[in-house]
Subunit: 393 residues, 2 copies
Amino acid sequence: MASTALKMLVDVHSHVYLPRYTALLRSRTTVPLIKTLTTPDGKPDDRLLILDHEPSGGRPVGPQYWDRDEKLKFMDKHGIDVTVVSTANPWLDFLPPPEAHKLALELNEDLEQYCSSSPKVDAGNSTQIPRLFGFGLLPLVPEVSVSSLLESIKQISELPHLRGVIMGTRGVGKGLDDEALDPVWEAIEKAGLVVFVHPHYGVDPKAWGEKDNGHVLPLALGFPFETTTAITRLILAGVLDRFPSLKLLLAHSGGALPVLSSRLSSCVVHDPVVASRLKHDARYYIGKLYLDAVSYGPEEMGFASESIARAGRYENGSQETATQKALSVKRSLGSKRMMFGTDHPFFPPLSTTEKWKSVVENLQAIEEVQGWSEEDKDGVRGGNAVELFNLKA
Amino acid sequence: MASTALKMLVDVHSHVYLPRYTALLRSRTTVPLIKTLTTPDGKPDDRLLILDHEPSGGRPVGPQYWDRDEKLKFMDKHGIDVTVVSTANPWLDFLPPPEAHKLALELNEDLEQYCSSSPKVDAGNSTQIPRLFGFGLLPLVPEVSVSSLLESIKQISELPHLRGVIMGTRGVGKGLDDEALDPVWEAIEKAGLVVFVHPHYGVDPKAWGEKDNGHVLPLALGFPFETTTAITRLILAGVLDRFPSLKLLLAHSGGALPVLSSRLSSCVVHDPVVASRLKHDARYYIGKLYLDAVSYGPEEMGFASESIARAGRYENGSQETATQKALSVKRSLGSKRMMFGTDHPFFPPLSTTEKWKSVVENLQAIEEVQGWSEEDKDGVRGGNAVELFNLKA
């Protein structure tokens, strides 16, 4: 299929607060919430507060967060053909189980409608496909029933434009290494849905010290630390041994997980109890993951690609010699599991007319990765997502 | 000098608890401490507890932590010619200022003695140099006086076998981005001492969840997260703009800092207040750092090397075009700031006769980095350390 399909630019990391979710945020008096201030010249000034220790009184929020036309305008401006849209953090994490359950089902229907009624784009082979697909929501909150989670997975798998689920790192309160999630992983794996794992909580803000660095530290470091920790715990709990076909797509290129994976392997090997729980060297599991290409630099992307490519060396029972192993690291191979993303509508440009720097940088980084062929780059820009999400009419 | 010197293997990341420090740990009843249990067959069983939430009742500790003969035996076993030894964490962090001051001065004298009386090794050019050099200690604790810190820097710079200082990430209580440290950086820079920045605290252990993963998560992830955070804060506070000749050597290849540096740059650019404080793009500062080669994988080392090599692109006012910038990334260049290390006596092997896996892995990783010449590898194995620490008789 890939060979006859048009070259498309597909954004797998793009967020929305649907109107129903926005209304909820506006109705709230504790974080997360949207509050409306007034500018000095009397205009309304909506502010989003989503973190417990939100610096500088929240961030400006506007139609780009909820208006589909704004999403499409952004896509047009940057030549993005198709976007797989997901609700932005903190999803339903803060709701009691009955509300989370109800809202998940409603928001999944809303998102299906948002996608199914979108304009279409030529996908080659004389076919037209919608420009918008989506990740659904599960009511992942403490004390939710398994049946509630399974019901929403079933719903998502039956909604034709939803191709995965987005989730944070808390699971049902105890993280992604909680055995209580096994029925969830099982159902998701069976349905062939992609799980987009995305951070929200960062780490304890005491780590950031007393200086005012705005959002820089929690976003630049806290987010990737959180994703790294969550997936490491998931790996150490054997989730990828029990559910080897699970498709996990990690935000921000997996954070620090690839670069710490050899250190992780070494620490595991030195702890026989942990080591005995795992079927393979820790580095093997990096090759089971999918990573967005949202790391802003060609060297970062090239390295992430290598960390996937080398994973085969670390399969238990692999018969390769050391030299064969060294030779087997082909960045090309790793690129197949990496996919362009924008993080829209976050990181807006400082002026309204220009292209978004974050988008331009990530596209340029993909272009500049040494060792990726043009075909590899086309894959990262769109072909890999077309295949993973089966983006057809 | 390097061209006529012998090829040496130099370990820049190797720890000791000197007898005076061990005695202090044995005398204590709160962490950090060494306690002596008894084995089922009646033998004494020393246990080291250094973390506030130490899992599994501490780790076995023995002569390798304090006996110089054990250090030399370890060096012989692995062909290490010279080691630059440093006190292991948590250094003097837990002491009141007068005790920290007194002990710093005493331990620096002890370490000088430990090194100066060590056996010698042929360093080429018909010269013999000691096999042991050292990093001294500063009394970096809350409410210490600047004069106390400056006194210990002066002492270290006058002790012939001490070539730097080791420090944690708390500074005098508020981290390494605290302006109170400016006189310390200034004196260290002037003395030409190398600062070995090493983690101890990790992150809030709530991040590790409820499963028992031994020491794996705090060591594999918490340590690098801590170093990454500390140096990022130092960079954002402009320390490397104010002290551009400061020589910072980061433990564990700088943790996640290189791989998150493009994301960091992007977050800084989107925050004009933070951006306006810095002279250069965040990635520029990676090129001012030195990294140990303790990351256990050739791809990790190659990437770290690239992150240093590319730093010149990001100097403010750099006139390179995009194409020149892409071409200018030569891993070779980055290797000059990387240095072999072992983390001895941590990560001991599971049996006593074998070579230490952690050492073998890091040496093999250096050997396998793609894009490093034999000369680059010799530099990482020893030549770079000989030059940085001026390892002469």
